[in-house]
Structures are given as C-alpha cells and as structure tokens.
Amino acid sequence: MGIESRIPPGILLTTLEGIVNWARKNSIWPVTFGLACCALEMMVTSSSALDIARFGAEVFRPSPRQADLMIVAGTVTKKMAYMVRRIYDQMPEPKWVIAYGTCASSGGIFRTYNVVQGVDQIVPVDVYVPGCPPRPEALLDALMKLQEKISRERFSSRPDYVRALRPEEIR
C-alpha cells in the first residue's frame, strides 16, 4: 500500500504474532533437568564446543517456573514419571518439550517393568530426537526445528490462548 515509504527509517512493521514469536523463539530457556546418559550430551551443547547461546537457549534454569523448554534427556521411569509431569506443570505457558534420545521418545532399549515407553505418555512433545544418545548437534537441530515451529505458531491455536468474549456470550 506504499505505507512503508511514509514511515521514518528504523521502524519495522510486523504483526504482533510475528514479533512475539520472534522474541519467544530466540529466548528459549531450558529447565536444568537431566535424567540419564543423554543428559551428558545435553550438557555438551552448553559447553564451549557447541555453545547453545547462539540460539538464545543457554540460560538453563534450575527452577521450572522460569523456564520455557523441558528437554527430557534420558529414561523416564515409572518412579520418576510423576515428577516429570509435575515439573512440566510448574512451567508457565508458553512451554515446549523436546524428547531427546530414544528413551525419552519411546523407551529405547529398555522395554522393562519400570520404564515409561515414551515421555509423550505423560507430557505433550514438540520435537523428538532419535539416537542413543543423539549427538549434541542433534539437540541444536531440534532446537532449530522448535524455533521454526514457534515462528509458525498462531496465538489462537496455543493452549494458553485467552479469547475475548463475544457480546452474545456476555450475560
């Protein structure tokens, strides 16, 4: 519409959704939460070799209340399942989950009496990463996939979406 030419330089136009998603996807703070072997590879991503800070996700938070992302790195056992769900519940919206490694994705090699066959039985999962353990680069890849997903997100399809009431709904 030619509106861009009338705006002084240095100002950018975008949708609210676009800018919020952009902010969200570049500051995904994971909760410090390692379960098993895969957690070691998760730690490597935050070391200098791979430097997860490049994606704005280096702020590992020990408290779920300050985190946006749960990286389930390791085997979820039946004894631990309740706590995993509890941590997820304690995280404020918006929040995402990466199932890192085959154990978290599907129980992995442990088809046994105390292993939950996939963390998706307990919490919704956004990205699955196969591997036992996956290479740390795979976690960065998952993070980028998640960023893509976030940038495509619509407010209205988010679980935390609060819609204004329509007039006829007000009594």
């Binding site: 072997c37 706590m83 105390n114």
Partner: protein
C-alpha cells in the same frame, strides 16, 4: 586372591553351619546354613587370621525349580591379606536370613535391594524397605517368574509421587525442633535424579536419607533376555560417564566364564580405553563438582578437554558415549591410522591443562572453605561401608583394584596410587586430580606397548567364540550360517559362575555372572561402586550445613545410571 584355606577353618569352628565348599572358575564359595550367617559373618570379620573387613557385594539369585529357591551371595574381601571369599546361603520362599548389617554396614542397602528384587527378608534389619522400586510396588522383579515388561499394561500417572512420605524412624521425636526437607530428584546438584531427605535442625543436618530408584531401568533383569555379547550394550548405559570401564569389567567376567584371555594387543588397547574413560569421568566430575560449588570457568575448561578425548574415542570406536566396543576375547577393531599422533598430542598438552584447573581451584579461598574439613570419612568407616575408589583412597587407604587384583595386564604398567590424609572433600579432589595425571601416564605406556605388538591381533581366534570374517560371510554359506547363529543365538559358556572387577573411575566395578549353560546369562549382577559409596553419605554430612550436602555428593562422584541400574 581366592581363599582356599578359609573353608577348613570355618568347618572346624562351625561344623553344623558350614554345609560345603564349591569352586567355579577358580573362585571359592562356602555354603552356609541360612540361620547361621550372622554368626559366621562375625567370626569371619573378627578372627585375626581371616579378617574379612569388607563386604564387597551381596546379591540374590533365584532358582525356582529348587526347593530352597533363593540363594543369597556374599562376596567378602580382606584388606590385610588381599583375599576374597564368597558365602552362599539358601532360603525357601517366605523364609528369612539374619541381617549382617551390624557386621558390615555396607549390607544395609544391599540387603534392602535383595528384599526389593527377590522378596527375601532379613531378620534384624533396621530399615527393610524397598529401595529401587517404591513402597506399594507389586511383585519382586528379579524373580524368574516376573515378566520383564512388568505385570501391567500401559502406564498411568499415580495420584501422588511414589515414596512421598519420609520413613517413620526419621520422623520420630519431632517436637518442632527438626525440619524435614526434601532435596531432589530434580535438583541441579544431585547429579541426575537422586533424592535426599534431610532432617535439619536450623541449617544443620541431623540425618540424611537418600531415596533411590528414579532411574531404575531393570538392567539386571533385561540382560537375562540377551546373549552375552548383546548384553554389553546395557553396560554402556550404567556408568555412562565411563562406558569403556563398564564394557571391560563385564567382558572380563564373560571371558572368565568362557575361560579365555584376549591377545596382548587387545589387552593394551583395553587398558588405554579404560584409562581414557577414567579421564572423561574425572573431567566430568571436576566440571560438575566445581559448578556445584560455584566455579563456572572450570566447567568450560574441563569440557574442552573432555571433547578432545571424546573425539579420540569416537575415532577409535565410532561412538562418543556408548561404544560397546569390546568383543568376547578382544576388541571390535584395531586402532585407526594416525590416532597415535593425536593421542600423543593430547598427552603432551594435558599436564598443563591440569595445572590450569589447579591454578583455579587448589588455593582458591572459596574452594578451600567449601571443601576442607567437609564430609570427612574415617578409613575404618569407609572400609566397613564397602566404599572403594577415590573416596576410599581420599580417606588414606591405599587400595586400588588395578594393584590389588591386577587384570588386563595392569601389572606391567607403572603408576602411583595417590591417597589423601584427612578424608575430606578437598582430599578426594586432590586424589582425583593426581589420578588424572597417572592415567595420562598409563595411556602413554599403553601406546608404546601397543606399538610393540603385531597389528591386527586384536581378538582370539576361536571359531565358536568369535564371528567369521565379513568377507567370508559374503562368499561361503557355512560362514553365513555361522554368522547368523552367532548373532542370533550367541555362544554359551559351561554352567558356573564368575566375578571380575575393575578399578572404575568411581570404585570397584564388578560383574557377577551365573551361567546355566545357555547363551544368555542366568544372573547378571552388577557390583555398583556408586551405590555402595553413596551409603556413606549420611555419615559424611551429619553436622554439616545444607550447602555442604552438594559438595559432598559431588565429591563422592555418583552416577545414577549405575546406582539405580
């Protein structure tokens, strides 16, 4: 080594209680009447000639077809004479044994585990609760009639967390003076999913009760469904910080069952890899331990070196963390070309890197305040609790499996075994730092020795125990069949049992395998160093402040994969 004389002496003292003696693969087991176990145990410990002062392992085995269905196996060690002895006692379903917890404190958790896994009760045990599963769990998983996948279909979240309530005995005498605080299982400083219930008076710790099992994956049960070679993959995932050590301990136990020994070149390669494992494990320990106490830089430094090592290990084995690199009677592959130079280069740099860590920590006033005099463990307590590895050496006991019971040609290597003086967190730190230097030294020697052996001689030539070469498989039907049979079924050792252990980065890591003559292990028992070491935690933290728990847990260097199995 194995004590052949003990039987005579025991028989003379307890003609009724001692039922017999067995020998398998050179290992001596004395059979004891179940009711008399405590008496015999006391004698074994107190008799000055026998002086079995350490209980290395205690586990159960289930033989459903026998009338006395359960066998409880005690592995003892005498520090003074470096001797070992195994005791065995059989009980029927519903019968119980006397607890030996008062003789060796190490038995406390081990007996709880046997109770949890087999349902065998121990009379006189002060705290006989489930340990790896939770109160209210149905059945005993290691019984042969318990299905590997468990009894229930699917999984539903329980309404409340398992083992929510602290044990009764901890709660008693509560007149508002004490407070019970729960730490973990999601806590950045418990190194995984350890949970510790703390009883506090103000900020001072009155008692600490670890709650385990949050990573209990049923490895010992699962291995019973796999062939000997395949079960190796499970060992990687126990102490995942040092997978080669686990591979080595397990494979040596398997080889003992088969009665073979790998060629020298393979042995040296194994030594080299095991020492690299120690380095990766100790580096990870230092990184996280320092991070817990608040030194962030060390974390980055240690991970830098750890990555270099992982790259080398990846070039050799093809995997960073979970290599499963050993084969029955050798290793999977020879060293790749050009790896020597990379290793040499690393070894040249490494001492200066350790000096860097030391410059950051050893005289740092905060570090000293947080570690000196914290978590002191007396040598007698350490031995009584079955503690091994750097924790034991930190308390001033010069004992190392590599020296005491050499394996994989360790007797040909020159290295020192460092010890501490006071047994505090700082000493354990120094011990591990020195161990890293010694490991680098061993790797250098191993490299030289590998050069002196013929290339390619990496696995025993035995048509039954190793698969046919790949090029044959593609041409000859016999070889193809043999290959198929080898990998689908696997070789079977003669019935019997074997125990082999290594000095893992965390302590004595051993495997007790029982074979019934089939290609799958009948019992696959891991002697977990961290599990036993962690038992000393309450002793070490009593009287300290809450923040010190973090330092002490760090200095025990635990890994939950192996504690919970």
């Amino acid at each position: 080594m194995w004590d052949r004389g003990a039987y005579e002496k025991l028989k003379a003292h307890f003609p009724e209680a001692i039922l017999g003696v067995e020998e398998s693969r050179g290992e001596v087991s004395v059979r004891v009447k179940a009711e008399e176990v405590l008496k015999v145990a006391k004698f074994l410990r107190e008799d000055p000639e026998l002086s079995y002062d350490m209980l290395v392992d205690l586990c159960g085995v289930d033989y459903p077809e026998r009338e006395e269905r359960f066998e409880v196996v005690y592995l003892l060690h005498s520090m003074k004479d470096n001797r070992r002895l195994r005791l065995k006692a059989r009980v029927r379903e519903g019968e119980s044994l006397p607890s030996v917890q008062e003789v060796w404190r190490a038995a406390n958790w081990l007996e709880r585990e046997v109770y949890d896994m087999f349902g065998v009760r121990f009379e006189g045990h002060p705290d006989l609760r489930r340990i790896l599963t939770w109160q209210g769990f149905e059945g005993h998983p290691l019984r042969k009639d318990y299905p590997v996948e468990g009894k229930e279909e699917g999984f539903e979240l329980p309404p409340e967390p398992p083992d929510l309530e602290p044990p009764e005995w901890l709660k008693e005498e509560g007149d508002g003076r004490y407070m019970i605080v729960n730490m973990g299982p999601q806590h950045p400083s418990t190194h995984g999913v350890l949970r510790v219930i703390l009883k506090l008076e103000g900020e001072q710790i009155v008692d600490a009760v670890p709650v385990l099992g949050h990573l209990h994956r049923g490895v010992e049960k699962l291995a019973e469904t796999m062939s000997y070679l395949k079960a190796q993959t499970l060992t990687d995932r126990l102490d995942y910080t040092a997978a080669f050590s686990n591979n080595l301990a397990y494979m040596m136990a398997v080889e003992k069952l088969f009665g073979i020994e790998p060629p020298k070149r393979a042995q040296y390669i194994r030594v080299m890899l095991a020492e690299f494992s120690r380095l990766t494990s100790h580096l990870l320990w230092l990184a996280t331990h320092a991070l817990d106490i608040g030194a962030m830089t060390v974390f980055f430094y240690c991970f830098r070196e750890r990555e270099t090592i992982l790259d080398i290990l990846e070039a050799i084995s093809g995997a960073r963390l979970t290599p499963s690199f050993l084969r029955i009677g050798g290793v999977a592959k020879d060293l790749p070309d050009g790896i020597e130079e990379r290793i040499e280069k690393f070894l040249d740099e490494f001492p200066s890197r350790i000096a860097e860590y030391e410059a950051l920590l050893s005289k740092n006033p905060i570090w000293l305040k947080r570690t000196k005099g914290i978590g002191v463990l007396q040598p007698d307590d350490a031995i009584n609790c079955g503690v091994t590895g750097p924790v034991l050496r930190g308390s001033g006991v010069r004992w190392d499996v590599r020296k005491a019971l050499p394996y994989s040609s360790y007797e040909e290597f020159e290295f020192e075994v460092p010890i501490g003086e006071r047994g505090d967190t700082y000493d354990r730190y120094l011990v591990r730092l020195e161990e890293m230097r010694q490991s680098a030294r061993i790797i250098r020697q191993a490299l030289r020795k590998i050069k002196d052996t013929p290339p390619g001689d990496i696995v025993i030539k035995d048509p039954y125990l190793s698969p046919p070469p790949k090029d044959q498989v593609q041409k000859e039907p016999h070889a193809l069949l043999r290959h198929f049979k080898y990998f689908s079924e696997g070789p079977a050792p003669l019935p019997g049992e074997a125990y082999m252990s290594v000095e893992g980065p965390k302590g004595e890591l051993g495997w007790y395998l029982v074979s019934d003559g089939t290609p799958k292990p009948y019992r696959f028992r891991v002697r977990p160093p961290c599990f036993v070491n962690l038992q000393a935690l309450p002793l070490m933290v009593k009287g300290h402040l809450v923040a010190d728990v973090v330092a002490v847990i760090g200095s025990i260097d635990i890994v939950l994969g192996e504690i919970d199995r």
